[in-house]
Amino acid sequence: MKDLIDICRGALILDTSTLVRLKNAEDVFRKGLIVLVAVSLLVGLVGFGVDVAAKLRAPSLADQRREAQRGFAEALKYLPPETINPETERMIRDYFEAGLDIGFGIAALPTRLPRPVGSILEALGGFVSAPFKRLSGWMLYTLLVLVAAKLLGGRATVQQMLGCTALYVVPHLLNALGALLKLIPCMGPPIASLLGLVAFVWGIAIYVKATAVANELTIGKAIFAVILPILVLVVLVVLVAIVVGVIALIS
C-alpha cells in the first residue's frame, strides 16, 4: 500500500526515478492497474453517493414536471423575438409537452421491484462501470501509442507501457473534490470544471512522461508518439471524407 502511495506521489511530481522503479518492477502492470481502478472507484464513489441521495430525495413526478415546464418557459423568454412568431412558439410548446408526456409517462410506469430499488441499482451499476469505461479508453489508446513509440525506437514491453501510463489517472482524484463542489450552488460547478481541466492537463503531462520513461525516448519523441494516433485518425477521417465527397460529386 505504501509502495503504491509513493508511486502516486512520484507520478504527481513527474519524478523520473519513481517511473523508472515502476517500469523495472516485475508486477508493473498489476501496480498500474490497481492505481487506475482504485482512483476510478474513489472518484466514482463520491458521484455514486451524490447520485443515490439525489434519486432518493427526488421530488414527485408532478413537481418535476412543473419544474421542467417553468425552466422551458424561462428559456423561451431568452429567444430573440424576431426569430420566433406565435405559431412557431405554439408548435415548440406542443412538441415539448408531448416529450414530457412520453418521459413522465414512462417514469410513472410500474416495475416488478419498487422504483427506488431500481434507482439505487442503476446508480450502483454506473459506479461499477466507471473503471471499465476508463480502462477501455486508456487501454485502446495506449496500445496505439505503444505502436507509435515502437516506430520511433521505443523499448517498452506492453506490460511496462500499460503499467507506467496508468498513472495518468492520479490527478483525476481532483474530480472527486469536483463532484462535491458541484453541490455548492453558483460557484461550485465552475470551480469543479476548472479542477477537471487541471486534472486533464496534469494527467496528459504524466502520460507523456510515462511514455518517455517506459520507452527510453526523449520528451519530444514521447509527445509525438502520444499525438500520432490522433493525427493518423484525423488524416484518415479527412481522406474518407474526401473520397466520399468525390464519389458523391461523380454520381
Partner: protein, 239 residues
Amino acid sequence: MQTVLDTLRLCPKALLLEGEAYEEMRASASPLVKGLILIVVVGVLISLVGIVGETLEWATTPSFDEMQEIVWQGMEEMPWVQQIPLEERRAVMEIIRQRYDFGWRIARLFAPNPLNAALKVIAIPILLLIGWFIYSLLAHLFAKLLGGQASFGQTFGCTALAVSPQLLNLANLLPYVKVGVVVWAWMLVCNYLALKIAHRFDTGRAFWAAILPLIVLALLAAALVAIGVAIASALIGGR
C-alpha cells in the same frame, strides 16, 4: 476436476499479463484440452452470473409493451401529425406504425429478459469456442509463416488463456453494469503475449501474428457485408 481448477488458477495470472501463466500452459501435457475446458468453464461462469444481473435489470425496468404505447401516444400528440393532409393521415400513420412496431421488435432483442439470459448459458460458451478456434487457427498459420516454434496444441492452449479478460464480465452480477470494449482490447494484449511466449517470438513478429488474424477476419466480414448488400439490392431492384 483438479485439471479444471489448475487451469482456472492460471486465469488471474494470464489476465495480469504474467508470462509464467502462458509458459506453464505451453509446457503442460495437453494444452489444447485444457484450453477447451477453460473456455467452456469461463463461458458458463460469466453467463450464469449474467442471469442474476439481467433478471434484476428486467425486474427494475417497466414493461416494454407499455413503454411502446406511451411513446406512440406522445408521438401522435406532436404537431407533425396535424401537418399531414387529413385524407392521407390514416394511411400515413398506419405505415409509420408498422415501422415503429418493427423498431420496437428489434429493441426487444436487446432488452433485459431472464429467459434470454438463461439461453446464454449455452450460447456464450459456444460463441467463445468458435471465436477462439477461428482466431487461433489463423494465428497459428501466420505464426508458422513468421517462423514460430509452437505446436498446434501449444498455440491453442496459450490463446485459450487469452480469454481470461472475459472474466471481467463477472461484474455483470450487478444490473446496469457496462463492461464495454475493454474485454476485447485486453484479450488482444493477452493474445499478443500468448503468441509471443508460445512461439518464442520477438515483439514485432508477435505483434503481426496477433493482429493479422483480426485483419483477415475484418476483411472477410466486410466482404460478406458487401455481398449481402449486393444480393439485397439485386433482390429489391428485381422487384
